[in-house]
């Protein structure tokens, strides 16, 4: 089975985020950039399928040159090939444009299954996987925590509010991966050395037949701000029965929690 895995290069979740002076960008300081944690589940799943069924795992990202690091990590884990979609026209890509770029690239990379993370941390849009399936006209199953192959179909477990849903999907399809699906492996040192020798294909807008003019963001960012600091807690005093009454009243009227 040939698997295409979409990975995003994102700031480490431990990064302390500040809004930049222009109020439109984030100031990430000296953030360490890593493979989006949910995409690690996708890479691991691709590798497990390859180990079981043969075929190849190709990883793909839309990003700048620095995103090479995340591709190298996936290659070090055991992926066979990597594609970097990088072009000045992709710089402000929104989820829709990103999905279009990936769809154009996927058309040149025939595969049986496309895996992505359930969402990319930082942007938190949760859209790219679904849009990609839509653009390619193939089924999409999101937030997947379990996967089994049955004949030419996949039996998938997906997380839903308060339970698990079991879904059968035909191949090819797009699956977005959630924590719990597997335990991503650490790259071995040999894997890291081998990754050095694997080639990363670079595609620009022209290589993908995309007109840069059509990639302009479909929405405009107006302003970015941090949530207001949490107000100090309230400490009630007095007799316990009175405190309980007061607490219930506050929870109802002020916090609107009950």
């Amino acid at each position: 089975m040939n698997v295409l895995v979409c990975v995003k290069h994102v700031p480490d979740t431990e990064t302390r985020v500040k809004v930049a002076a222009d109020g439109l960008h984030l100031d990430l300081g000296e953030a360490n950039w890593v493979v989006n944690p949910y995409d690690e589940y996708a890479v691991e799943q691709g590798l497990q399928l390859k180990e079981k069924l043969g075929g190849e795992v190709t990883v793909i990202t839309v990003g700048g040159d620095d995103a090479t690091k995340s591709l190298r990590q996936a290659l070090a884990m055991g992926a066979d090939k990597a594609v970097l979609c990088s072009d000045p026209a992709f710089e402000d890509a929104d989820p829709w444009s990103t999905a279009r770029i990936l769809a154009a690239a996927a058309a040149k990379l025939p595969c049986d299954l496309i895996l992505s993370g359930k969402h990319g941390v930082g942007g938190d849009n949760q859209q790219v996987g679904s849009l990609l399936g839509q653009l390619m006209g193939i089924p999409v199953v999101t937030v997947v925590t379990g996967m089994d192959l049955e004949g030419t179909s996949l039996m998938l477990k997906r997380e839903i509010e308060g339970g698990t849903e079991v879904v059968k999907a035909s191949l090819p399809c797009v699956i977005s991966c959630q924590k719990g699906l597997n335990e991503p492996r650490y790259p071995s040192l040999k894997g890291i050395m081998a990754a050095k020798k694997k080639e990363i294909t670079a595609w620009k807008a022209a290589d993908l037949g995309l007109d840069p003019a059509t990639l302009a963001p479909s929405f405009q960012l107006k302003k970015m701000e941090l949530p207001p600091p949490r107000p100090a807690g309230k400490i009630l005093s007095g007799e316990i029965p009175d405190q309980v009454k007061e607490l219930v009243k506050l929870l109802h009227d002020e916090a609107k929690a009950i």
Partner: protein, 382 residues
């Protein structure tokens, strides 16, 4: 000149850091208290390739550079210096001596199981009566029946108890120790070879340090490593590389202590302020960050020179001297910044304080590094 890591080196750093955080961090206090050597962690390190970092793939190694090796030892030591020193002694002392001085046959036989992580290596030069004055050793190897017979005791040997393969420096010509020492490879289970007492240490308590005892231990000629009479000079060459790993061990300990202090200072309130707002604390943190970075640059420079095949003796001694002294200083500052909490085991500061002291002692004390450096700089002006 370029001070940036490659993408692969960043992947390597993140991988080792994540492994250390997930698999090592939760156990550090338990291993320290009980003095347990974490065998299962070494098995996992072996699977990842970390017990054969710098050796060719033909011997089961990862064929990485010395710069990569420094990254690994620093990251492991940032979480637990006990694991860092184990990886260092295994790779750059025992395995590297076999790789550098061994015959093809010896590399296949002894290095392959070490580099692929199936066996743990030890390297023994120090004796009860000789440390800095390494040439004062007394362990002897005499020719017997076409082989060699070893007698004597080695002390302070890392992996004395848990090791499977040891490189031993012994006296083969008492008249001239500098040119009368020879190295041997001894395997666990060889008659006449046993380990003695395991040391109960101030720090690095999860690292196994102890005695090796030889009583009429008969070895074949195939166990002789390197030329007869070259054991001492070969050992000094091995230490040139080994010292870079002790510099990396020092960096990790210093960084770990510094991060503990930094986090604490941003949370602890005294006199109505975060203590990080006091200039006295800020200056301490600034000096820690600066000295650690300076130590890091010296260490990577020495490693890069080694990768390029340039002379490293002076550079590795400088890196080792400076990084180790910085680690002891920074760990003490960290304890101070934590106040009473730096003195108790609930925070990692006190453990770093105990662990880093070995850095100015092992693989040549600070005084010995200064002797080595002085010898070089004086010669440069002859």
């Amino acid at each position: 000149m370029d001070f940036e890591f490659t993408s692969e080196q960043k992947v390597l750093r993140d991988t080792v850091r994540s492994f250390a955080e997930k698999k090592i961090r939760p156990n550090v206090r338990t291993w320290d208290a009980a003095g347990t050597f974490p065998r299962e962690i070494f098995a996992e390190l072996g699977e990842m390739g970390i017990l054969g970092v710098i050796f060719p793939e033909t011997y089961g190694g990862a064929a990485m550079s010395y710069v990569d090796y420094v990254i690994i030892v620093e990251e492991l030591s940032r979480v637990d210096p006990s694991v860092g020193i184990g990886v260092a002694a295994h790779n750059s002392l025992c395995s590297n001596h076999i790789f550098s001085m061994g015959t093809e046959e010896q590399r296949q036989r002894f290095l392959t199981p070490l580099a692929s992580g199936k066996k743990i290596g030890a390297w023994a030069l120090t004796e009860p009566g000789s440390g800095s004055d390494a040439a004062g050793l007394r362990t002897t190897a005499a020719r017997k029946d076409g082989g060699w017979i070893l007698n004597g005791t080695k002390t302070f040997c890392t992996h004395a108890t848990v090791g499977d393969t040891a490189v031993i420096i012994a006296l083969t010509d008492k008249a001239d120790p500098h040119h009368g020492c020879t190295a041997f490879v001894v395997e666990k289970g060889t008659p006449g070879f046993k380990h003695g007492k395991k040391e109960d240490k101030l720090g690095l308590r999860a690292s196994d340090t102890g005695e090796l005892i030889f009583e009429d231990c008969l070895l074949s000629e195939d166990n002789r490593l390197g030329e007869v009479g070259h054991g001492f000079t070969d050992a000094l060459k091995i230490l040139d590389g080994g010292r870079i790993s002790i510099a990396a061990l020092s960096l990790g300990g210093a960084q770990g202590a510094y991060e503990t202090a930094l986090q604490y200072a941003k949370q602890r309130v005294a006199f109505g302020k975060k203590i990080a707002e006091f200039q006295a604390i800020q200056f301490a943190l600034a000096d820690m960050a600066t000295r650690i970075q300076a130590a890091r640059l010296l260490t990577f420079q020495a490693a890069l020179r080694k990768d390029k095949g340039l002379p490293v003796t002076k550079f590795s001694a400088m890196a080792k001297l400076y990084a180790s002294e910085v680690s002891v200083w920074a760990a003490e500052r960290a304890v101070q910044i934590l106040g009473g909490y730096g003195f108790v085991k609930d925070y990692p500061a006190e453990k770093f304080y105990r662990d880093v002291k070995l850095n100015t002692i092992g693989e040549g004390t600070s005084e010995i590094q200064r002797l080595v450096i002085a010898r070089h700089v004086l010669k440069e002006f002859e």
